[in-house]
């Protein structure tokens, strides 16, 4: 008896009842669900920004000195790269909605390319920092040994590598889901009539961009006014 099929009923604005055949075309529901997921992301990064702000109030000068040592040219280039990738992702969605599937796919490939450029620049930056002895686990960032940096700078760089690392991980996830999106488009499961997956992945990419909008000034720019910085 417990396995008896009970159809779900939806009621329209006029009070008429309809048997639900499936929720796959529930565009607004899918969008709202994805926004709820994104709020959890915001809470995660929000907590990290709060911790960063607290440490900044405790070790103000150390944070400014550490910030001034980061490479603003590479960080700034990555900011512009992400900005253009958000544009290509948005234009891809626009093309998909208006029936230009080939154009949409081209724009997704452009976004993937820009994401790889971002990761490449990040890799160059991290490698340079490693070569200067600044990386998680190296002596300079371990308190209590002769070559340690001041404690505030250890906190700054610890948070820097953690947050830019998690952000980079989101970029990698983004590339993965964009490749999956291309596969779904090729198989006809995402089309100008059913593009919610494309819409949500574009939202995800904008969130990744949005987080960087705060990561960049917080780490690279707060100490930019100090003399002796790299750039």
């Amino acid at each position: 008896m417990s396995h008896e099929y009970v159809p779900e009923i939806a009621v329209d604005r006029d009070g008429k009842e309809h048997t639900v055949q499936g929720w796959q075309d529930d565009f607004y529901g899918a969008k709202l669900g994805f926004w709820l997921f994104m709020f959890t992301e915001v809470l995660m990064f929000g907590a990290m920004f709060m911790a960063l702000t607290y440490y900044f109030t405790l070790h103000h000068d150390d944070f400014l000195i550490a910030s001034s040592s980061l490479n603003r040219v590479l960080g700034g280039t990555n900011t512009v790269v992400l900005l253009f990738s958000a544009l290509t992702m948005g234009l891809g969605l626009l093309k998909m909605r208006h029936g230009d599937v080939k154009g949409a796919k081209l724009m997704i490939w452009a976004t993937i390319l820009l994401a790889l450029v971002f990761l490449g620049i990040k890799a160059v930056e991290w490698t340079a920092e490693y070569n200067h002895g600044i990386f998680l686990g190296l002596d300079a960032l371990q308190a209590g040994n002769p070559s340690s940096k001041p404690f505030g700078q250890i906190l700054f760089f610890g948070m820097y590598f953690t947050m830019t690392g998690i952000h980079g991980f989101h970029i990698i996830i983004g590339i993965g889901i964009m490749l999956w999106l291309l596969k779904r488009i090729n198989s006809g499961k995402v089309s100008p009539e059913h593009y919610i997956l494309h819409f949500n992945i574009a939202l995800y990419w904008d969130l990744v961009h949005l987080i960087w909008v705060f990561v960049f000034p917080y780490y690279y720019m707060i100490g930019a006014g100090l003399t002796g910085g790299a750039h």
């Binding site: 709020f39 709060m50 001034s68 200067h132 404690f151 904008d206 917080y218």
Partner: protein, 127 residues
Amino acid sequence: MSTEITKSYKEEQAGYFKVLAGLLLLTALTFIQPTMFMESATFAVQMLIGTVKAWLILMYYMHLKGEKLIIMFTYFSLFIVLVFFVIVIGFDVVNFQYGELSHITSGDAAAAASETHGAAHAEPAHH
């Protein structure tokens, strides 16, 4: 009908490029601000510019303009963050009874660590 769709497409595309121009302008402002103006309030100005950029991205790239329910959720989330992360935890942090014992919060301990180990390591990471 097709003309109408084409017009709408072009209008939306123009919208994307206008937002891009705004974001590029604000990014340029981010770069020049620390050495050009309001140097004593760099952190506040940088966060303000970031907030304006975030607003543009949310409203136009993330299509929140006109989405009353999601905007309401966003404000509610911000309210929750404000209450719990800032007010409640902030109050707790101000009255932290183990402040002197903690390596992070104790100014003396941190200063001592800096003096002992870090004096020669304030040089830039890149040259």
